[in-house]
């Protein structure tokens, strides 16, 4: 499985993501420069976290117009695997590859902390190594992670099981305190209808080695890797 990590001006999780994919997950990985029009033959595009273009205007709003994003859009259209983490998720929303938008966190604070998320749909290319209801621990670091979608859109994504992760407490229960950023339906991660594009606010690349507090993020990267090996 060949991974490509997109680098925008202001990306700051690109090196971490590259390191985890290459050295921890052990897959060939390359950087993809946002100004190029070349996906270098990768099987999966990862949009990393950070503050592309300084989060000016809205998070992800400028990055979506980067030259490379045209290729990423076409790649996704053809069924290519795309993962957006944090700012990468915001870019996917702005691009319209995933439904909805992000609002400022409900408490108006930048949240940088470990959270728990529950696997809601274990039948995706991103989560099949996990179990339904499994609780994963990983960090978040964002200002705008308060997921919003119009009521009819929310209904549709629930019906189609497009919600992949929800914020829960450590025992896997939904409650307002655990839904730290105020997301509608506690949405922490979403997949598109076709199942080849996923966005999530928590950082699996910061939770891929037990030494750093959690290796639960590997559920995602190993799922993506193994799907390709089959």
């Amino acid at each position: 499985m060949k991974f490509g990590v997109v680098v925008f001006p202001g990306s700051n999780c690109d090196f971490d993501t590259f390191y985890v994919l290459k050295d921890v997950v052990g897959q060939p990985t390359t950087y993809l420069w946002h100004k190029d029009h070349d996906l270098k033959g990768v099987d999966c595009v990862v949009l990393p976290g950070g503050f592309s273009y300084g989060d000016y205007l809205r998070s992800g709003a400028i990055a979506r117009f980067s030259p490379l994003m045209q290729e990423v859009g076409e790649f996704a259209e053809k069924g290519g695997l795309v993962l957006g983490i944090c700012n990468g998720f915001q870019v996917l929303l702005e691009l319209g590859l995933l439904p909805g938008a992000m609002l400022r966190n409900k408490n108006l604070k930048f949240l940088c902390q470990f959270v728990h998320i529950r696997v809601e749909n274990e039948k995706t290319r991103f989560t099949h190594k996990g179990k339904k209801g499994q609780v994963l621990k990983m960090p978040i670091a964002h200002f705008d992670g308060n997921y919003y979608a119009a009521p009819e859109v929310l209904k549709e994504i629930e019906t189609n099981k497009e919600v992949v992760f929800r914020y829960v407490d450590e025992k896997g229960r939904l409650n307002e305190a655990a839904n730290v950023n105020g997301s509608l339906n506690c949405v922490a991660g979403l997949v598109n209808k076709r199942g080849n594009v996923m966005g999530m606010m928590p950082h699996p690349e910061r939770a891929s080695e037990a030494l750093l507090g959690s290796a639960d993020g590997l559920v995602i990267f190993n799922s993506m890797k193994e799907m390709h090996d089959r």
Partner: protein
């Protein structure tokens, strides 16, 4: 020519920043304030182009770039020659 574009949240979308500003104003004694919605202002300087072209272009780029139509709405006006 100059245009001013106002971008704000749709009425159906909660605006936590506006709520916080409202609460602060209440604390300062302005209890008569019923609601606050916070938005963004863009003042854009343009070359002189025909009016019809302007009226087509401004809503187009406001919708495409300046506002996210899922959560935001915009209005605009010409503010100077």
């Amino acid at each position: 020519m100059k245009v001013r574009i106002l971008v704000s949240f749709k009425d159906s979308v909660l605006d936590p920043q506006g709520q916080t500003v409202k609460n602060a104003l209440h604390t300062l004694g302005y209890g008569f304030i019923k609601d606050v919605r916070q938005g963004k202002v863009f003042e854009i300087d343009l070359k002189d182009i025909p009016r019809a072209e302007l009226e087509k272009a401004v809503p187009e780029f406001a919708d495409k770039v300046l506002a996210n139509p899922i959560i935001e709405k915009f209005s605009w006006q010409i503010i100077g020659e």
